[in-house]
Structure formats: structure tokens, C-alpha cells
Symmetry: C2
Subunit: 346 residues, 2 copies
């Protein structure tokens, strides 16, 4: 029997570091070296944020996420609506109609019940907006100092319509890449709240469930190849995962990237690259280029999609990489986040 | 915007206490006062450890549990197999065939990767034994001191066969109550490991997935009314939940309760009542009395069911309570656990 202690990392390569949770290369390495080999099966190997599962007469999407965001409350939301929206969006990215959520709470001894009530109320409202029911749950309490207020896990189930096929295997040369809104808002909101920074404009998290955008999109264009929400690790890391998983080159046009001026200014001040900052209310969409205009039209009709932009294309299928075409015509390689930029962002 | 702090409880009624996680009356009160009103829907109101959900052409069981057991490793298991077995058993208690599990990890900065590997390996083996696939997951890392090594959430999906109907509404006067094995082993194992106690015999956790017992039982007897695993709060709290939920009196025969002598001795020494100690590898089964013998025969054929016993009956349907008939003929009321007996037991 082995009862391990949990020391601060003296041998960083043998211990968990914050970078393992950053959503970049270290996170991927951890998943690939420890979780995939242990749990190997065809569904996990879809390497998506949720699994699409065969059931008699239907296909299910199933996904899980724990939320450990700090602080618990931030401009534009709190851990509660974040936990609902995040899991709903992961189901949407499977092409599923989100139906049912679970909610599991790890509570720290001493947490004010009023805080819990506010969080739960936000979950309720978010679930109603997203059209899902929270149908099962769990509550654990740990001693003071063994958690940070509260952590929430939400898992979700949705039904995937028969004609929908979304996944890395569908991404192909010629695909247009659309983002449904401006990038960087969530991460910058969290960080400035945490650091007590006051900008002229309060930067709000973009946390939102994008149910209507996705359902209108899937109903309105003939084919969608890939959907993914660029959360931890930001746009760059998510696109790198897609490039690697699909074996394609994705080329972005720097000038088309939607970044709000206050977010850009805050990133400059904080030394952050907005391409690596987490988002919680936008999606990346890959689809045949000929449907891009129609898709943009549909997305922009939604309040959460007003800032949608065509940001690039899949330009090659021989080399897995993400390229950024700069304003003056040069090109630079966008790598995956290496390590952690902003811990506890979701 | 409200950024609450998490102080040690100065006003206990307004703050989370360890008792809120004990699986007894305080846990129930928290769920009933905060979670149920917020998330109200017919599936949550089944008040079971998982929800049975309608899907086109089938019914799904869906359940979630976070595991925060301390220590991570204990005689008979670790947090990994506990996390798989616990969720599998909750699906079984819905009458479902367990199919798919999610695994979400909250890791503490500094956790040795080798510890994570051991836990993940145990999960893999437990999943294989239980016949389920771990199909989706999530990894978060929090700073040193914001967790206790690692916490795991597993959610699970199973299919409920058309002819199976298990739930509080089926429990009725005349039902026999069977327990599939001796009680108290898991809680006593955890506590003695935590306290560094050495008994003559090492008491092992009973953690196990009871897939075969349940599938053989459902195939072998014409009707099963209720299944539940008596985890936190122990046998007494679980039976009280059932008595309250179904509005019935459950009468137990003290002499029939299976308690292994070392567990009884350890409980005496530790001042614990084995009826309130958590279990992780046994089930309570309610079914028509005329099938009890057949059920016991089936259960005892399984390695995890050798100690199965008929422990009592549903004796009335007018008063929700649990009675214990003592050896000398007196009867005492068994209440739900009030507060917490053993924190971080699962």
C-alpha cells in the first residue's frame, strides 16, 4: 500500500504542475501519456471534448467538465453559469441537442450558504436559457483548506441527429474557419478581477450557451465539419489541436481576428497574447467554404454571434500546423500554448 | 459583483459544515433547501442516486459522483477503483446496464505523476471488471493547498431495459429487505488507515462493482422493487431515505445484520455504530417476500454476495420510519445520521 504525500514539486517532471492544467501542450502530454493509454477505446480516441456514443436507435453525446475558476464571481458571470454553459457548449460541439446535465459539488467547509445559493441560482437560469434539465447530482464537503470555496463538475448528455457528423475526420482542405465572436474576453475578465485591475471599460466574460447559434446553423447550412469552443489555451491551442488531430494546415488572417479594443489594450498591459487567452462563449466552426457566407449570416442574427468573422481556411492537408498571415504579408507559425498562461480560468 | 471569502464557520447555520457532506440529515436538508428548489424537474425528483431518463426508443440512467476520499490509498482499494465502482453501482441501482463513464480529475499542483498513474491504472482495471468504457474526461489543476492530492468525478450512463421498473414508488408493505454482504467494512477501513490504527486483522474496504449480482438478480427473479447502495451515512441513513421517500415502515432484525467480528470490534473501539458506517460494495434490495429465497440463492452464488442476508421487511405503509428489533424483543427507532460521522469516506 502506498500513501503518497503531495509535496511542492521538487522534481517538476515527476509531479503535476499548473502547466498540466493550462490547456496547452503539457495538458495534452498528460492526457496522452496517462489517460489515453489507460482508458483506451474508440470513443475516447475521438479526442473531442465529448464522446458520441452509439445507443439503440440513436447516438448520444456525453461530456464532462470540472470548474475550478478563481474568483468564483467575475464580471459577466460566476462559476455556476460557467459550469452549465461550458458543458452545454461541449455537447453542441458534438453536434448534439443538449438535454440533461448532472451537477456535482465539492464544497469547502466554511463556504457561506448564501454564496452557494447565488451559484445554484445562476446554474438554474443558465440551464433554463440553454434548454437543459439538471437531473442528477452529488455533494461532497471537504475540510477548510482542501478546496477553494467550491468546485463544480457538470456532465452532460445530448442526442445527435442522424444526419449530423461532426469531428476531426471531417476537417478538410478548403474548409472555411469561422469564429462566432471576439476573442479573449473571458480570460481577461478573470485575470483583471483576480488582480484587482480596473480598466476604463469593465471587460466582461463572454460565458454563454450557444444553443441557438448551433441549432440554427445546423438547420440552415447543408454541412458543418467541425465545431469546437476555444477555452483553455485559447484560439491558438484549440486550432493546433484540430490541425494535429486532422493532419491539416490552418491559415489565419491576422487582420480578420475579432479582438475588442479594451481586450487588446488589457492584453498589452498584462503581457498576454489574446490568441492564447481562454474564451467561454464563442465557437470555432469549420465548414465548406461555399457555405461560409450563409453561415455568417445565420450566426450574426443571434445576439451572441454579432461579432462572427471568417478568420481563415484549411489551406493544406500535408502538414499539421497553424499559420498566421500578418498584416504586412509575412507568415508566422502559431504554436500550442506551452505551459500555463492563466491558471483556474474555468 | 460579490466576491465572497470562505472563512471558517463563525455562524454555523449560514455556512457549509462537514456535516453537510455526511450523507445524513444535514446533507438531505442542503439538497432539499438549495438544490431541489433551484433545479426542480421530474427526474431530479426521483430522489434516486441517478436519474432514469426518457430517450427515443429507450430509457437512460445517468448519475454523477465526486470522490474526495482521504487517504487516496487504503486496504482493498484506492480513490480510482472507488470512483469507478461507485458510479457503476449507482447505475445498477437504477436497474440499468452500465455502459459509459466519464472521468474528470482535479489535480493538486505537486501531485506525483506516479500516484496519478496508479490511480488511473486502478480505474482502468475496475472499468474492465465492470464492463464499462471511460469515454470522455477532463483535467483541471489547482494550486498547492487548494485540493488534497486529487479529486475525481465520474458520471455514468446506462440503459434501462424496458421491463425493469425500480424506484421508491415500487417499495411496498410486505417487501423483503436483503443486504448483499457485511456492513461497515469500507468506513472502518478508511478510518483505521487514516488514524494509523492496526488491528489484528486488516479490515479491507468492500469497494466493488456489483454488476454480476444485479444482472443475475434481474434475470433470475420476476420482480425487484428497489436497489440502493448504502454508502455515506451507512445502512441506517439509506433505509431512512427509502422509508421517507416511499412512506413506509422498515423493520430490521438486529440478529440478522451481517457484521464481521473485526468490524464490530473496531467499531466498539472507535465508538462507531456500524449501522451508520459507509459501505462501497454492498446493495440493499427490496423485492416481494416470496422471491427472497430465490434472490438470496442467486446473490450468494457471486463472490461479492456470499454474505448476503435477509435483514428485514417493509412492515407498514402508514408511517415513514426504520425500526430495529433487538435480540430481546424490544424495538428501537433507527434515525438518519445527524451530522457527519466520518468525513471524506468516498
Amino acid at each position: 500500500m502506498n500513501i503518497p504525500d503531495c509535496p511542492l514539486p521538487t522534481q517538476p517532471t515527476d509531479c503535476i504542475t499548473l502547466a498540466h492544467g493550462g490547456g496547452g501542450r503539457m495538458t495534452n502530454r498528460l492526457i496522452e501519456s496517462i489517460f489515453y493509454p489507460a482508458f483506451a477505446n474508440q470513443w475516447l480516441e475521438q479526442a473531442h471534448d465529448g464522446a458520441t456514443l452509439p445507443m439503440p436507435h440513436s447516438r448520444l453525446a456525453f461530456t464532462t467538465d470540472s470548474f475550478v475558476v478563481s474568483p468564483l464571481f467575475f464580471p459577466g458571470g460566476n462559476i455556476g453559469d460557467l459550469a452549465v454553459n461550458g458543458t452545454v457548449n461541449d455537447l453542441l460541439c458534438c453536434g448534439a441537442t443538449p438535454l440533461y446535465l448532472s451537477a456535482a459539488f465539492i464544497l469547502e467547509e466554511g463556504l457561506p450558504l448564501d454564496t452557494l445559493r447565488q451559484v445554484v441560482q445562476a446554474m438554474r437560469e443558465a440551464a433554463t436559457r440553454a434548454g437543459v434539465s439538471i437531473v442528477t447530482g452529488d455533494t461532497k464537503v471537504v475540510e477548510h483548506g482542501k478546496c477553494d470555496g467550491l468546485y463544480i463538475n457538470t456532465s452532460g448528455i445530448g442526442l445527435v441527429p442522424g444526419n449530423i457528423e461532426i469531428g476531426l475526420h471531417r476537417v478538410q482542405k478548403g474548409d472555411a474557419v469561422i469564429v462566432t465572436g471576439p476573442i479573449g474576453n473571458h480570460g481577461v475578465s478573470i485575470l483583471s478581477t483576480r488582480e484587482g485591475l480596473n480598466f476604463e471599460t469593465t471587460i466582461e466574460s463572454d460565458t454563454a450557451a450557444l444553443t441557438h447559434i448551433v441549432s440554427n446553423l445546423l438547420a440552415g447550412v447543408p454541412d458543418v465539419h467541425m465545431l469546437r469552443d476555444p477555452t483553455r489555451g485559447g484560439l491558438s491551442s484549440t486550432l493546433n489541436e484540430i490541425a494535429e488531430g486532422a493532419g491539416v494546415t490552418i491559415t489565419l488572417d491576422e487582420q480578420s481576428l475579432p479582438i475588442e479594443p479594451p481586450v487588446r489594450a488589457a492584453c498589452d498591459l498584462l503581457g498576454l497574447d489574446p490568441l492564447y487567452v481562454a474564451n467561454e462563449g464563442i465557437l470555432l466552426i469549420f465548414l465548406p467554404d461555399e457555405h461560409a457566407e450563409q453561415a455568417l449570416h445565420i450566426i450574426r442574427n443571434d445576439p451572441h454571434g454579432k461579432g462572427a468573422r471568417l478568420i481563415g481556411h484549411v489551406t493544406d492537408d500535408r502538414r499539421p500546423e497553424v499559420l498566421l498571415e500578418l498584416a504586412l504579408g509575412q507568415t508566422r507559425v502559431l504554436d500550442m500554448l506551452s505551459g500555463e498562461q492563466l491558471p483556474r480560468i474555468c
